[in-house]
Amino acid sequence: MCNKTSSLIKAVSLAAAMLPAIAAADELTIGARSELTMDPHFLWTGANTSYHVQIYGALLQLDAKAQVRPMLAESWRTVDDTTWEFKLREGVVFHDGTPFTAADVVATFKRLPNVPNAAGPLTGALVGIRDVVAVDDFTVHVLTNGPSPVVPHQVAQIPIIPSEIAESATTADFNTGKAAIGAGPFAIDTYVAGDRLELRRFDQFWGDKPEWERATFRFISDDSARVAAFLSGSVDMIDAVPPVDVSRLRETPEAIVHTGSSDRVIFLWMDHERDVTPFATDLDGKPLAKNPFKDSRVRRAINHAINRDVIVDRVMDKLAIPASQIVPPGFGGYDEAIDVPSYDPELAKSLLKEAGYPDGFGLTIHCPNDRYVNDGAVCQAVGQQLAQIGLKMIVEPMPRAVYFPMVTDHAGERSSLFLFGWGSSSGGEADLLWQGIHTFDKDKKLGTWNLGHYSNAEADALIEKALVTLDADERHRIEAGVIKTIMEDVAVVPLHYQTVNVATRKGLSYTVHADENTLITEVKKQP
């Protein structure tokens, strides 16, 4: 090994070895990639949900495997086809001492569509939910348009606030902290925009007393800066550890890396709909007369051209799992009988030849470079592998600010082949089926995220059937059936399932959550 490398490793290890042992203090500092939005109903993102569930709490919460568990509601059941009943926990108080009752839940849900200027209202989580009413002080009914099996997962996305605040507070009140009253295990002490969030333990929390009296989230969005902060001892733990740094951190004696499976699958969309697709060209650069992706042989060729193992090994540093379908194992609808498409470049080339492209064709692949783990690098690797079966590739990673408007503009140019990621925790199962595989249906609110414009009538019918099947096993069986069909049809090209990586100082244990939430309550001091 080169001298420079070994001395650098030694220096880093030595430095890391000087990380002080956990102080007896009950203070925790976390270096977090994402910052929160103070108004819990302003912007629905995974990062915000992660913060707000710890400050405000929700009716239900997701455990490490993204299964729903009681939180502010103790039990739940369906009363009839269009009604879910939630029995609320008694004796819960908010941070200001006021008691928690059904009125607070109703007022919260009423606020959701009425937050002025909300960029991403939480009503997006409530597909199929018609109304929320209080039956008595500790019972709430969620009324749906039709049978809706995913209501428990949906309500787990909604932070609950006191009714007085829901009725009168503005987003500005939340920003100053005045209205930041919740029923979660931690209360807000200080918030400095762009810098940090300081929380203190809520001693009247109904659940297990958290080990930490104070916790500070420091917002460090830059990957290297976050790792540097951890190595220099400024923070006790960091989330979203870049895969390339994981092995180095694992070699560091004073650090532990906690890895777990994520709910997110990374895959490629193709243009299934248009007769001429703009980014598939002949070798001179003119668009092909016929959209190659409409030929299933071309789609299968792409499937087999990709060496998922190498991507997982070299780009994701083994911190991903090659994917066979659109949900990770452990989620409803997952079918273990479906295999990861084999890496077979010769088969890919012959399929292309059969389809009429013996010399390949020109193709552009688009992807974000700041949204998913190593998305830019994955995109380039895919480009490399497709080039090796004869396609003349142009790789176009771009900031998500440019990428998402482009691929979601259903009337615009969009893309021909593009990268996407989907986390299934808000549905608890293969919700990509009705959000992204089903043909776009504005009235039924289905297929909003069907960006490739895939349309399979048989699959559509089965998906709609699954949506109203309340029995979980039956529903999952139907979903698995649909997934098998669409995977054979190569509706999307699955790449890999991500993992969640969190690093803590030695002496701390952490239970990783599949929905990628960073939870203080999961950080425990080891004896």
């Binding site: 939005t37 103070m38 993102t45 997006g124 925009a193 800066a225 902060a229 220099s232 400024s234 900031p399």
Partner: protein
């Protein structure tokens, strides 16, 4: 004189309007920002609602006129991401950037001027030229590269200083600043050094060339003939005469540091407006981008204006706005 001031003020306003229009349209052309901010799991109806919330469904010219009217009243729109007035978001982060610039310029001045004087007094001799060439390094090194190296050495290997972020804020003379705490100083040191390299090098060269230029002047020769020591001449006379142009340029450079700090703030995760603008561009937070550009242009125009006026006051030989016919 008054006519000149009025003329310049008018020009400045035109600049502001033109720039705001250009930027506003440009950002709109990228696409619908809602799709960036909204969670993929939301339904189409929610997306439509969000578009209405942000006023993005009205025609472009209507959006712009609305913006102009509000701007006159000091309201530059609400940040999409931070759910607060864009102006407020910027002003909140401005102190951090100002702190950084203040410390960086102080370092640049304290190190740059003496070095420049030394380099200048050595003139064309080897040490002088060596120092001058060394100063080239100061603005040839890529800022982000230097920043990461500083972090690697001082933060990770030596563990003397934190690797990023801003320190604790205290009160100094009634002003809330992180320079009031020792923790604050520990945090600001590395990024300030990083940011100071460019102005330090510039200052060194300016002072040096100024000294060399002055050293050839008659009054210096007279002073030397009178028997004054070189050092005395240097400090008491030459230095003072180089000060005016140096101060003017430094004024402009300080303003430029506001933009220049973009890279340093990104590397050191310093919560100032530089990092804010980079993030806002990435997230298409239109109100913040427009407000930021307007403020920066305002500051620059003000500095330019002040410089021009100052120059004309100091040196009446420079005629205002006319050709030398």
């Amino acid at each position: 004189m008054a006519q000149f001031v009025l003329q310049r003020a008018m020009h400045a306003s035109v600049v502001l309007v033109v720039v705001s229009l250009l930027v506003f349209c440009g950002i709109y052309a990228i696409g619908n920002p809602v799709h960036v901010l909204i969670d993929p799991r939301s339904s189409q109806e929610v997306i439509d609602q969000a578009i209405r919330n942000l006023g993005l469904d009205r025609p472009l010219w209507e959006q712009y006129l609305l913006f102009l009217r509000n701007a006159m009243e000091g309201d530059l729109g609400n940040s999409y991401v931070h759910s607060r007035p864009a102006l407020q978001v910027i002003l909140e982060r401005l102190p951090a950037t100002l702190e950084l610039i203040f410390v960086a310029m102080s370092i640049a001045v304290v190190a740059g001027i003496p070095l420049g004087l030394i380099a200048g007094s050595m003139g064309e001799r080897l040490p002088g030229r060596a120092l001058s060439n060394l100063s080239v390094l100061g603005f040839s090194l890529p800022t982000f590269w230097v920043g990461l190296t500083l972090i690697l050495i001082f933060s990770i290997e030596l563990r003397w200083l934190p690797s990023g972020g801003r320190g604790e804020v205290g009160a100094l003379l009634g002003v809330r600043t992180s320079l009031a705490t020792s923790d604050g100083w520990k945090h600001v040191l590395l990024p300030a050094v990083n940011l100071s390299l460019f102005p330090m090098a510039l200052l060194m060269r300016l002072v040096r060339s100024g000294v060399i230029e002055q050293a050839n002047m008659d009054y210096v020769r007279f002073a030397r003939a009178k028997g004054l020591s070189s050092t005395r001449i240097l400090i008491a006379y030459i230095f003072r005469n180089t000060l005016i142009p140096v101060v003017t340029v430094m004024g402009l450079v300080t303003g430029g540091l506001i933009a220049f700090s973009v890279v340093t703030e990104s590397v050191f995760a310093w919560p100032g407006i530089g990092k804010l603008i980079v993030d806002s561009i990435r997230l298409l937070d239109r109100p913040v981008i427009v407000a930021y550009i307007l403020i920066v242009v305002l500051v620059f125009t003000a500095i330019n204006f002040a410089t021009d006026v100052t120059y004309s006051i100091i040196d009446p030989r420079i005629r205002l706005g006319g050709a030398n016919r």
